[in-house]
């Protein structure tokens, strides 16, 4: 009789405790089962009616039953308390994070880094040279004769009759070849100066990367292959390129390299002056006179050289239309990259 009742109550309790969702429901449950007149104490009242023989066993069963229910109750109670506490301590996760300061390299440095990465991968070393150069290294050794109009190609700042602010990174070629025998394969980044009026398109100072490769069997075909690979790695695989004849005193034959304008894809736009092409660098086979000037055998060795302006590349790549912003160092500009 008592045992049947226990079973019945147990069934109800098990069902009800599973559906408890808040403290109120739990308290209702407590009142129903554990209060003075609750269902569990009422079972103990029934115990009085049992025989003295049955009493010890029933008492034991009843006690175990009560402990079991109490445990279940306590578990749920503590779960509810946990939830309650968590809710009380809960963060407003939507508040903004605390900002840490982080800097970055100038966009010109980042552009140069990318160029360096590509050429280093092709086995080029990286060398530097001074910005204040001798007229000899900047011009004469590079086959610019003293009174040749080729000198007009690069308006020059002079600090004395014999010293100039270098107009290109090419004198580093001379320095490198004078101290190293072939093979020489290097790029030479650096700052150069031109005595030109400052405008949105030209500045009196900018940066170049020079390239040089000299060995016994260097050909124009290899120059084309190397620079085509560079352009594709830097600008994208789908570009077209072309090499046009040009003139630099220190290379013969000389060329300029154009790539399809990546803004209009070759259809013609303002950036490419409707031509569909963008000039990205000058190059050529090292002039034999340059080899003479550094003491290389110009029959045995051939070589190529190239040079590109980093500002121009960055302007094209990032859509910058005024070269002066690179050197204003406006924080709002610097922070963008």
């Amino acid at each position: 009789m008592l045992q049947e009742k226990i079973k019945l109550i147990n069934k109800d309790f098990s069902f009800e405790i599973k559906s408890i969702k808040d403290a109120k429901q739990l308290d209702d449950l407590r009142v129903k089962y554990f209060s003075k007149n609750g269902l569990v104490p009422s079972l103990f009242a029934l115990l009085k009616e049992a025989t003295s023989k049955e009493k010890p066993l029933l008492g034991k069963i009843l006690n175990e039953f009560r402990t079991d229910l109490q445990n279940q109750f306590d578990n749920v109670n503590s779960q509810l308390n946990d939830i309650k506490n968590t809710n009380l301590n809960k963060l407003d996760l939507t508040l903004p994070g605390v900002i840490s300061n982080i800097g970055s390299k100038h966009i010109l440095t980042q552009t140069l880094d990318e160029i360096k990465f590509i050429f280093k991968g092709m086995g080029f070393s990286v060398h530097e040279g001074p910005e204040l150069e001798s007229d000899y290294n900047n011009f004469e050794a590079l086959n610019f004769a003293q009174d040749h109009p080729a000198r007009d190609m690069q308006d020059t700042f002079f600090v004395s009759d014999d010293f100039v602010l270098r107009t290109h990174t090419s004198p580093v070629q001379i320095r490198l070849m004078k101290k190293q025998k072939p093979p020489v394969r290097a790029i030479m980044p650096g700052r150069v100066y031109r005595n030109e009026a400052v405008s949105s398109r030209s500045y009196c100072m900018f940066h170049q990367v020079e390239g040089l490769y000299v060995d016994t069997d260097v050909t124009f075909a290899e120059l084309k292959g190397t620079l085509a690979s560079f352009a594709k790695q830097f600008y994208g695989d789908d570009l077209k390129f072309r090499f046009r004849p040009s003139f630099f005193p220190f290379t013969e034959p000389s060329a300029e390299m154009d790539i399809t304008c990546f803004i209009c894809k070759g259809d013609g736009c303002k950036i490419c002056k409707q031509s569909g092409w963008l000039e990205i660098l000058g190059c050529g086979m090292v002039d034999p006179n340059v080899f003479d000037n550094v003491g290389y055998d110009n029959e045995k060795y051939t070589g190529y050289a190239f040079g590109m302006g980093i500002e121009r590349i960055a302007m094209l790549k990032f859509g910058i239309t005024d070269i002066r912003v690179f050197f204003e160092n406006d924080y709002r500009f610097l922070k963008q990259f």
Partner: protein, 797 residues
């Protein structure tokens, strides 16, 4: 240089080649076309219109309401030009045409409430001239509705070519035609002239300076009538961007642009003794050129003189005293060859660059002077009614012969990386007038025409072959070999520096090293540029500081007041007055850190704080740690010799300064319009690179627990931190410990002129667990020592 396609076609047949293909052909052969205007394309929509009527615009005083007849119908057109009038023939732009100036498509528009169906054009709007004061009024005989291409002969293609300095031969229409003839395999047609062998007796030429004037030819035309040129000549001159002047000058310009030989016409009757003497000046002198300017001539300027006086600066510009004028009857046409480098010196010295000097300094053809003189004489006779004097005067003592050069077939493929068919090579060379005089299976021997001074060596001929054959026909290889020798990268350290700076929150700036004298502020001994672009960029920086402060100032103006910047760059100092060698100056790489404003902005859970002297020091310490120079450099705090800094310190390595900086003085900042505190530090980057180890060895972390103690003392205010910490660090027992200040407190309650410094001590050992007793003993002994040494009072006891 401008080339007219119609003119060009007189020398080479381009067949049906479309204009864009011709343009591309030129560009791809080294005559880079910068721009071209196809008049047939540009002006295709414009027609002759007739202004039937003109009324005032109802709503605008300055506008007229015109009725324009276009040959088919009357249209209402609003016009703003003051000179528009009833009865004029004008250039009419119908709706839908593209206006060259501004490149916009004309739409039917309402102007001040009145509809306008087209536009009456000015010269300027059409790109036909500079006049934008009013509309262009046409000849009244023109018929309404005629396309202006027909009415005004606008059927040319004007091509702007950038000629590289090595190609003086291409500075003429025949020169460009020669390249095209080689590219297309068509014949080059050079105009014929009557040969003129006999010597004219009418004038005499004497060359004193044979080095700088190897040849002087002249031709005389008598009884010319100076007048406007005929339309065909004016049109040609205009199309290549020149201004027609008179029939004589226009012919000399025509011939120069035809064959590349600059000419000059003298009034023969103004030549004293009918004599030309070519000689160089012996001393500095002045000379009035035909533009009425007095030119100061340096010594050794080559002059053309008559029997008495100088009459022209040879190859640069004529003199006012011998200029032809409306009364001129007889002329002497000068056609000479001058030494290129001498011409360049003169034009540089005088800062006078003319079409003639431009060509002479690049190198003209010495063997064409006679041809050009005769060609000009014949044309002048034709257009001025003059009579050509028989014979030519030609002084050419030492004929300049074409060079002979050998080309090896093997060298061509060695340089270019592929072989070119021998017949093709020979055809290219012949077309360029590089005549093959001998040939065997390995070599060609060619003569180089004297109009190609740039071709001096075998490699120059190889370039010609590659150029005409097309660079696009050179293969683009897809594999390269890489040597296995060591690769170097001299920029590695700078890259490391930059990434550390970035991680500390600094942005990189790149500044112009050229500064104004004022901004250069004379730190060190700056190098001055002799020919600056302007006075703002006259001095080379001796420090990165000025550039940095300019950036701070710029940013503050634009509301960016909290800045953390760095720069890596070279600075320059001279060590001798005149720079003649690399020993006379220094060029050093420096690294500048600069902070100003707030380091932390107020946020909902963070308090605001500003950059200060100690934050700067902290940055430097972190920076040094990351380049493995922690605890290597020593700071020193002697005052700076100038009043540049309010708070100055210096970092040294083995007694030598490696950098300096601190808080800048307000007076310095005022010069840059900066009113907030600025903290900066400049390192000598080369020295830093020299001493920075390229690797660091691993230090095993401690395995035994540390024991911590701390204490605070009250000191006299003038006792500096450094003396206390050094004393604690060095004092007493052998136990290892690190010491760190964690509090500084000043208050009247401590007593007058007192301060409290609190230190945390960490005791440790690499090989055992320390006992509380030994640490306590050491700790107590330090307390006693500090108390005694500094007369300090331990707090909290």
């Amino acid at each position: 240089m401008k080339i007219s396609l119609n003119w060009l076609k007189e020398y080479v047949d381009i067949g049906n080649l479309p204009v864009p293909e011709l343009i591309s052909l030129l560009t791809m052969s080294g005559l880079e076309v910068e721009d071209y205007k196809d008049q047939n394309e540009i002006y295709k929509d414009f027609i002759v219109g007739f202004v039937k009527d003109k009324k005032k615009h109802p709503n605008a005083d300055r506008l007229s309401l015109c009725t324009v007849y276009n040959g088919k119908e009357d249209l209402q057109v609003v016009c703003g030009a003051p000179n528009v009038d009833k009865g004029q023939k004008i250039i009419f732009a119908p709706v839908g045409s593209t206006i060259p100036k501004g490149n916009f498509v004309l739409k039917k528009a309402k102007i001040r409430g009145t509809e306008s169906c087209g536009m009456i054009c000015s010269e300027d709007e059409l790109g036909l001239g500079d006049n934008h004061d009013g509309i262009l009024v046409l000849d009244s005989s023109l018929v309404e509705g005629t396309p202006i291409c027909d009415a005004l002969n606008l059927n040319d293609v004007l091509i702007e070519i950038a000629i590289t300095p090595n190609r003086p031969d291409a500075l003429s229409h025949i020169g460009v035609a020669r390249d095209i003839s080689a590219l297309l395999g068509k014949e080059l047609k050079i105009p014929k002239v009557k040969s003129s062998k006999s010597i004219s007796k009418l004038a005499e030429i004497e060359i004193e300076d044979k080095l700088n004037c190897p040849r002087y030819s002249a031709k005389i035309v008598k009884n010319v009538k100076i007048n406007e040129s005929p339309a065909w000549l004016k049109n040609k001159i205009k199309n290549i961007g020149l201004r027609p002047i008179n029939n004589i000058v226009d012919v000399t310009n025509f011939v120069m642009h035809e064959v590349g030989q600059p000419l000059h016409a003298f009034d023969l009757n103004n030549l004293s003794k009918k004599k030309i003497i070519v000689k160089s000046t012996k001393e500095i002198s002045t000379f009035k050129t035909l533009d009425s300017k007095d030119r100061k001539l340096p010594k050794d300027t080559l002059m053309i003189c008559d029997g008495e006086k100088p009459i022209a600066i040879a190859g640069v510009m004529g003199g006012e005293n011998s200029e032809i004028n409306l009364e001129t009857k007889d002329i002497l046409i000068e056609s000479a060859y001058f030494n290129p480098s001498s011409k360049r010196k003169t034009s540089k010295a005088l800062a006078l660059n003319t079409d003639a000097s431009y060509r002479f300094e690049r190198g003209t053809n010495p063997n064409i002077t006679d041809f050009a003189a005769i060609r000009a004489a014949e044309l002048i006779a034709e257009v001025s009614g003059g009579k050509i004097e028989e014979g030519i005067i030609d002084n050419y003592p030492n004929k300049i012969e074409p060079k002979k050069l050998t080309v090896r077939f093997t060298r061509i493929s060695k340089l270019l990386g592929f072989g070119i068919d021998k017949e093709k090579i020979k055809n290219i060379l012949s077309a360029l007038e590089l005549n093959i005089i001998k040939e065997d299976k390995d070599n060609l021997i060619v003569t180089v025409p004297t109009f190609r001074p740039d071709i001096e060596r075998e490699v120059d001929i190889i370039e010609e072959i590659a150029r005409i054959n097309g660079y696009e026909n050179i293969p683009t290889i897809s594999k390269i070999s890489i040597t296995l020798d060591k690769k170097t990268d001299e920029t590695t350290f700078t890259e490391l520096i930059k990434s550390v700076a970035n991680s500390l929150g600094f942005y990189e700036m790149i500044n112009n090293p050229l500064l104004s004298k004022e901004k250069a502020m004379v730190i060190g001994d700056p190098i001055i540029v002799k020919n600056p672009q302007n006075l703002d960029m006259e001095y080379l920086r001796t420090s990165l500081i000025q550039g940095g402060l300019k950036v701070v100032s710029h940013n503050i103006k634009f509301g960016e007041k909290d800045l953390q910047l760095y720069e890596v760059g070279n600075v320059f100092n001279k060590t001798k007055k005149n720079i003649k060698s690399f020993d006379d100056f220094t060029e050093k790489s420096k690294l500048l850190f600069i902070v100003t404003g707030k380091s932390t902005k107020k946020e909902w859970n963070v308090n605001e704080s500003g950059y200060d002297f100690y934050k700067l020091k902290g940055f430097l310490n972190s920076f040094e740690r990351k380049i493995f120079l922690d605890n290597v450099l020593n700071d020193s705090y002697n005052a700076h010799e100038s009043n540049f800094y309010d708070n100055y310190f210096q970092k040294n390595y083995k007694g030598k300064k490696i950098g300096e900086g601190g808080k800048l003085n307000k007076k310095i900042l005022e010069q840059f319009d900066i009113s907030q505190d600025v903290f900066l530090f400049e390192y000598d980057l080369e020295y830093l690179k020299d001493i920075a180890p390229d690797k660091k060895y691993y230090i095993e972390p401690l395995k035994f627990p540390k024991i911590y103690r701390d204490f605070a003392f009250i000191f006299d205010k003038e006792i500096i931190y450094n003396s206390v910490i050094e004393f604690i660090s060095k004092n007493s027992s052998e136990l290892s410990k690190s010491v760190r200040i964690f509090d500084l407190f000043e208050n009247e309650s401590l007593g007058k002129n007192k301060k409290s410094l609190a230190f945390a001590l960490e005791y440790y050992s690499k090989d055992r667990t320390l006992t509380e007793e030994e640490v306590e003993k050491d700790f107590r002994s330090i307390i006693a020592a500090v108390t005694k040494k500094f007369d300090a009072q331990l707090r909290g006891n």
